[in-house]
Amino acid sequence: MSLGVYFLAMVKFTPKIRSRIRWYIKKHFPLARNQSVIEDDSPLLTSGIIDSMGVLDLMTFIEKEFKIAISDEDLLPENFETIASMASFILSKKTAN
């Protein structure tokens, strides 16, 4: 895939992916709900909003919702630390397929 197509995909899908993840996190993680706004770059793992059991549920959601397979190599805190990093991780998985 050319850089141009990737860029277009990013512009087109990123906001939608981000809003779906935000919806899921707000719904399932109580600490996130106590904060009025979670920004795209708010830390979610280091802040304790998402814990190690919660991240398993989040990954199941991401796999189903965006139809990607998360492999063990993908399990890096930096891929899941923020909504923005999750969205770019998901997009890179989708465009790689």
Binding site: P30, D72, P77, F80
Partner: protein
Amino acid sequence: MDFLLHHMLRSSAEPFPQKEALVHGDQRLTYAEIVRYTEGLAYGLQRAGLRRGNRIGIYLGPSVQQVLSIFGISSAGGVFVPINDTLLPTQVVHIAKDCRMKALITESSKLASLLGVIEDIPSLEFIVILEDEVMPQIPLPMHSFDELCGAAPSQSGRDVGIDKDLAAILYTSGSTGRPKGVMLSHANIIDAASIMADCLDITSDERILAIMPFSFDAGLNQLTTTFQTGGCLILMNFIFAKQIVQMMLKERISGMTGVPTIWGLLAQSNSTLHQNRYPDLRYISNTGGTIPQRVLGALQKALPTTKIFIRYGQTETFLSTCLPPDELNRRPTSIGKAIPNTELMVLNKQGRPCKHGEIGELVHRGPILSQGYWNHPELTERVFQPHPFLSPELGGTEKVCYSGDLVKMDEEGFLYFVGRRDAMIKSSGFRISPTEVEEILFQSGKVQGAAIIGIPDEMLGQHIKAFIVPLNNASINPNDLIAFCGERLPRYMVPKSVEILNELPKTGNGKIDYPALRRRQRL
């Protein structure tokens, strides 16, 4: 002579002053450094107002400061109260009020979450806070943790207590009501460390990975066992199981203790545990529930040279049994035999010793029996009763602990866990009383009846199912109710499913019939 918790630091620092004692990320502390910081902190806490027997909360994630706080409070003559960092403000306030906490050691983000409720803790006199860029404004004196640690006492602090004094209160749930504080004396904690070191053959060469919080008895015990023997404890925060694997390799970990949920995560078929060899890993030990046999098999395959110890205990008695690794294949479902210097009895409903194979309640006798529940004399009296079989000439003052756990013993004296005598639930190592969750369900204002039970779950041990009777036959969306709980309870206490009923089954005297609910689920 070591009779107070912090004495073990000095005893280990004497032969090994420059030995690595504590690691967290790129922080590495020697025994000499820990002694120095701890003495500074103790002196600083006393100057800030800590007096003998005061309860001081520690609300921090895994960190060097958390460890220094435990020993610093002990050294200053206080009682430390570790608070699990996954708890929400309501639960933190409950603990602080219940133990009449005088001070809280925490960090700014956690303190910020307590703004608005901290005024509900009238006993709280000061806060010790880790340095941060943004400091919340609260109407209480605040002390910087680093400044207190840097305080230089003119001489080593004089001890203000004896080993009968309380060292810690660990909050845990029972079968009813809100979490209760289990009181541990200095002697309890020191004896438990010695017994555990003996069971697991711990030496000063050990490099032990701490993945369990110090608010758990087993997590605290791992810390004290390591420091008592002069080993090194490695702290970590983790999100993915593979971070644990990476840490095991990086720090050449020789031993670790975990709950079944951790082993379940590590043993998953796609886990990186299976891709490496661990020549340094001498032992692993399980506590806090039963490991499914499938997980146990996967661990044995992945760790062929590592000894696997199965342990059983509860906060009230710290630790009761251990199954030696060489017995594991012969009796993989056993929790083992009594630990050294401890006597265990299995008693039937009439209070008489059970025959082999007969199910009865486990009763614990020994030096690590805790001092009971803080400010709950009736409950303490129910659980900690006089030894039933000692001759009356002894005066009947010695107490034993009736655990509420049902077990059976085989002909060779090995014990097997069967279940709970009451409605208490255990999920990913946490004890949950049905009341704590049912109270929240009632707070929704939509239910007239609520009862929760534990459903067996391979990863969590148990997960929670709620049975609900709607108020005035109103329609209730189960997902809304689950979300309502999620906002008010830590994750492990939130029901996974809700079933609507017309009425709850009741016993003859009008109480909720939990066994009937379990039978309904074919449990």
